[in-house]
Amino acid sequence: MTETLIDGLYREGEPIADTKAPDVPVPEMWTKRKFDAALVNPANRRKLDVIVVGTGLAGASAGATLGEAGYNVKSFCYQDSPRRAHSIAAQGGINAAKNYKDDGDSVYRLFYDTEKGGDYRSRETNTYRLAEVSAGIIDQCVAQGVPFAREYGGLLDNRSFGGVQVSRTFYARGQTGQQLLIGAYQALERQVAAGTVQMFSRHEMLELVVVDGRARGIIARDLVSGEIETHLADAVVLASGGYGNVFFLSTNAMGSNVTAAWRAHRKGAYFANPCYTQIHPTCIPQSGEHQSKLTLMSESLRNDGRIWVPKKAEDCDKDPRQIPQEDRDYYLERIYPAFGNLVPRDIASRQAKNMCDEGRGVGPEVDGVRRGVYLDFASAIERMGEDAVRAKYGNLFEMYEQITGENPYQVPMRIYPAVHYTMGGLWVDYDLESTIPGLFVAGEANFSDHGANRLGASALMQGLADGYFVLPNTIRDYLAKGPFDKLAEDHPDVQDARRAVAERVEKFLSINGTRSVDSYHKELGKIMWEKCGMERTDAGLREAIEEIRALRQDFWSNLRVLGTAEGLNQSLEKAGRVADFLELGELMCIDALHRRESCGGHFRAESQTEDGEALRHDDEFAYVAAWEWGGDGGTPVLHKEDLTFTAIELKQRSYK
């Protein structure tokens, strides 16, 4: 490790590399790895304990599959039931290289699209495998009874999604995530009934137990009784989702948090590419300071809606129907004549922000800025008729009206971008194992498959790929080395972890300051959104780091959490989550600052073409930034994993 402090913020350590992908051509790797990975004798499996944190698509499917295999699984979720994990909210669909439409799709094309969509910042070996196992997911889900949309002939329907040219997206109306999750949930409950999975609902993981360098368990708090519990195991799987809630306002669920991943990071797991955030352009704008979350509307709306803002700032508070055509700026059609309103998510998002920053946003003023642009269906209604529009988008229009109280058939919709997904996450190798042996990370919680941006309908695919097919095959290679020595709960390392949790809980309750947890969370969110959101600048990020540090200091001295640690205390739960977001936020800014290029969801204002397009620097930045925790008061250490491409050629994208 170099001793020099770079930018005064971080140091650089040894490079890191994946050592698990076999040395064969990419398309043969997974078969080889599955063969090479050691097997565990069925009789030994029941002696092996595996903890799975999180019950979304990745966690529930991993828990169910490991349970079926005969391991002793303990599954944890903070919600009241595993069925509520936020995978449930995904609307659009799930990709799979089935080529049921015979339109030229293949494993390679799905791999290619995913790699390109991620702006060549993901590890090609993992991405290829994702495409390879995708078809099996659909088979598995159909067998479980997931009611995918079907054609009259009784076969599955597909649609094209997110601007790709093949129809490979399977869907269940606008509730694909819900249906897939319920499938995985039922599989999990079946194992609970069979006794292979023990379910711990309303439990939150607050610390990772590491003994002799291996992940050996977790410390969790029973959110109902308040009791701090120790759970020990031979391996730990984190499937705890993404960290979009660092922005306070996002499309994530209220409880979505980074705590499980962050606690692991502090215990030695590297956090990769934290700055890669996906911002979704078609969300319902914030209506006021009271707003607690943002709601996404399917991107398909951009197929027929036209996006515009008034040309003149003084028109912004007018009734949009009174603004004549010549005073409207259909800015996406103007700037990108070839793609128009269908430009990729990040471009559509950034341009909407630019318009609002110029003072041409519409809708209610929040903090003195109108954050919204029109998505107008007037011409679609004229062209297709209102009934056709209703048939296509009826449920979305209803949802919009429910939330805003405005009828989008008459008044143009207002939309604004919102944080939707985080591509970054804990660093994992080909086996999904983190830098702590025995700690595996699946789904959105890891960094591995989406690079700097995620293709639409690929999040569900990755969650289930990891949980059903990848992890159960790779974790056995690790578990075959076990069962490890039985740990006693009074082992000093276990006791230390437990004590740390108890002390932290005690600390939150004893600060006795004046500000609520939510007020800190909102303030952090504003800093992140303004300075580490859609467009990032060197100066802005440096300011953000200072502001976050000051906020964190204030948090630890002026927080007010009422009530006790015994029993349900929702403020206490939030305090722990926000405390971790306050640390993560700083790392995100450092990561964004060090990556002086624009790629995928990360746009650095300093790195753009003359036309204002994202400009990648493959010579300098074709690597994964894996960050090591530098200790409280220390500085993070950057480990670079060089990205090499043998199966695909790097290209700069253009949407002009």
């Binding site: 169910a64 599959t65 079926e68 919600q79 009241d80 039931s81 595993p82 069925r83 509520r84 994990a85 936020h86 449930i88 909210a89 049921y100 099996g136 088979d139 598995q140 159909v142 067998a143 479980q144 009874g145 009611p147 995918f148 079907r150 054609e151 009259y152 009784g154 076969l155 109306r173 509730q175 995530g177 819900q178 949930y185 039922q186 409950e189 009934a193 379910m199 609902s201 499309t251 669920a253 209506s287 006021g288 009271h290 607690s292 709601t295 209610p364 429910q402 939330i403 109280g405 059903y468 097919f469 159960p472 004046t514 609520s516 939510d518 009422l562 029993g567 349900l568 929702q570 403020s571």
Partner: protein, 246 residues
Amino acid sequence: MKLALSIWRQDGPRAKGRMVRYDIDGVSEDSSFLEMLDMLNEQLISEGEEPVAFDSDCREGICGMCGVVVNGSAHGPERTTTCQLHMRSFKDGDEIVIEPWRADPFPVIKDLVVDRSAFDRIIQAGGYISVNTGAAPDAHSVPVPKENADRAFMAAECIGCGACVAACPNGSASLFMGAKITHLGELPQGQPERDSRVLAMTEQHDHEGFGGCTNLGECTRACPKGIPLNVISQMNGDFRRAGYGY
């Protein structure tokens, strides 16, 4: 707008509860019902009173975590989830009575938070198709007539929020159970376990202490996803077939 709230406060599972009145001012009619409660909680924290505990997660009407009884209606006056209920459904000066789901199989944990794990146990009894990972045939090997697929989907829309139980004068979970039985029973994949599923699930339902269905339809009127009453009839028919062999 200004509102007078009466909210059920209960310190813990075994504590005695009571209704407490709170006044709140400056509520935007664009805010959601739960955001109004967030606002109340911020007010309570600043006054040094412990905030009201209530469940919510996705806040977009799909996870099924939220749910309170508002003025006697499960999820409030609109047919939607509590998180999607907006304050424009109320008037300035309204009095709003907020209670938790009331059913003995859903014991109160704290304030407006109840324990719905009984639903998980009903699913554990048989609300699944037994297929291990990796054992599935190709997805196109079994075509499903669109009509059946559509009905299965309609039933599968259940979000497990428990409003059906909260609204049912009998405290029955038949709509929840019927939805799962119909979802899986409409599909060819669900046939092998169709009989055992309905018998095991209904047994678990009764064991949990839910009431019996008297076909009143309050559940379907409260259901934010509009699950129709016919799923209960489907369950009854399947039950008879499984029990008596016709």
